[in-house]
Symmetry: C2
Subunit: 247 residues, 2 copies
DNA sequence: TCTATTTGTTAGATTCATCTACCAATGGAG
DNA sequence: CTCCATTGGTAGATGAATCTAACAAATAGA
């Protein structure tokens, strides 16, 4: 981020201003300090100097006390940021099924940091889901599962009826509490809800991660596991919520 | 981001330090200024005061010139950031099929800004792809398409053989250049490669976006379209690369 | 034990983004 | 035409994160 700024002095904050200007010109034909300040939640005393910097960078045309105009370069840049915003928001809201508010907020936070490559791959995913009949069905199914999933993992539902009916021997699902000390597994599901789930995720316990049970207390309550090279301890109910396949 | 900082003064930079410390303790049993500076690409003169701040915040224990120790609170926080990093990197690398370097970089940039809700939904997606047989197949297929896709959209490939064989009337695919002025469409695919594709994405032309053809120049070359309330112009070859369904 | 090297600290400067508080310009309303 | 309200601009301050450069402490060789 530092080196990026040296080559390209347009900071995230300036990009935000640019995007705001872009949207205001779109929606009300002009952009002025007051509205920008309001939209961005800053004071007008902060906007003026920012406009000066944007002008110096050739991204806007700004003569004091007059309306702000985007240069072609500025418009391009603004549109780019806005496109990333839209893409992320769509992904969060319509694919991951997040609440609109959170989708918007997360998109705002990330719009400046999405590489071209990531953007490209997101779009490929969208294309897949849009164009491919299977993709569409799957999205439906995923969203269905995701919505219900607060309790029931998708596996139990209609997914069960799919092809690849029998699950091979070593893919047997079990919970961490079924593992003996020394045994390892690969996480496939986190069944807990609310605080338990949150805590597990925050500790890095989610699908694809490999864990090893190191030690189990006599009562079976704290269970020490190793993941990503670090040791953590789980309560019994947390361990029981984590489904794994043996490795 | 501002308001968040007031309630919780742990900035992104401090969180990065915390994560670095966490990983160094994991990998070499101790963390010291020099290594942290190197890992983060800053000078040691910047690290010392940061350690002081982290100590004041109760996230590390730091006595000058001695090794740095994470408090339970600090360890929790570090693990949380690292978990987000892992999750994002996994998503970018193994699901979106990005190059390892870019996946890593993007994950770094976003790890501080991923809401709990987003994390939860990502994990649901992983669970779906891990546990559900259909999910697995689909991921395979998507990755296959994604890899080849630089030229060939997935629709033409094995996806074609899926259920839902015939595409209904109004879902006929056509390119933007097939639309008449006044007609509208919903983007489903962006077929162009390289610079053309990049330009289209940067302008916000990607699946799910609705566009309307406003005007076509006599020669058919610049085509003006409206999307997201803004007018942009496309060259003929760009327009031809964008597949839409009529709306 | 004494020096040379490595490592860490401190002070002071810079840049960015913000604030507050006050000042200046503009434009209606009377 | 004047006055006042709205709007924008400026100066000065703050806080974060960084740098450089000089200094101090610890460590390791000789």
């Amino acid at each position: 981020m530092n080196s990026a700024r040296k080559e390209n002095p347009v900071t995230d904050a300036l990009e935000d201003y640019l995007e705001t200007i872009y949207l205001q010109i779109r929606d009300q034909k002009f952009a002025r300090i007051k509205d920008i300040a309001k939209a961005r939640g800053v004071k007008s005393g902060s906007v003026s100097p920012a406009m000066k910097r944007l002008d110096e960078l050739g991204l806007i045309k700004y003569v004091k006390r007059e309306y702000i105009v985007l240069t072609p370069e500025g418009e391009k840049r603004a549109r780019r940021v806005f496109a990333r915003h839209q893409l992320l928001e769509h992904f969060f809201k319509d694919i991951l099924n997040m609440s609109p508010g959170a989708a918007q907020k997360d998109a705002c936070a990330m719009e400046h940091n999405l590489s071209d490559e990531a953007m490209d791959r997101f779009v490929r995913l969208f294309e897949f889901l849009e164009v491919c009949p299977e993709g569409r069905d799957l999205l439906e199914k995923f969203r269905g599962c995701s919505r219900v999933h607060h309790d029931i993992p998708c596996m139990k539902e209609d997914c069960k009826s799919a092809h690849r009916p029998e699950i091979s021997e070593e893919e047997q699902q079990m919970s961490i509490s079924d593992l003996q000390p020394g045994q390892s597994g690969r996480v496939t599901q986190v069944n807990g809800q609310g605080a338990i789930r949150q805590r597990l995720l925050d500790m890095g316990v989610f699908p694809r991660v490999e864990i090893e049970v190191e030690r189990v207390a006599p009562a079976g309550d704290p269970i020490w596991i190793k993941l990503q090279g670090y040791q953590i301890s789980l309560r019994q109910n947390e361990a029981a919520a984590v489904m794994v396949t043996r490795v």
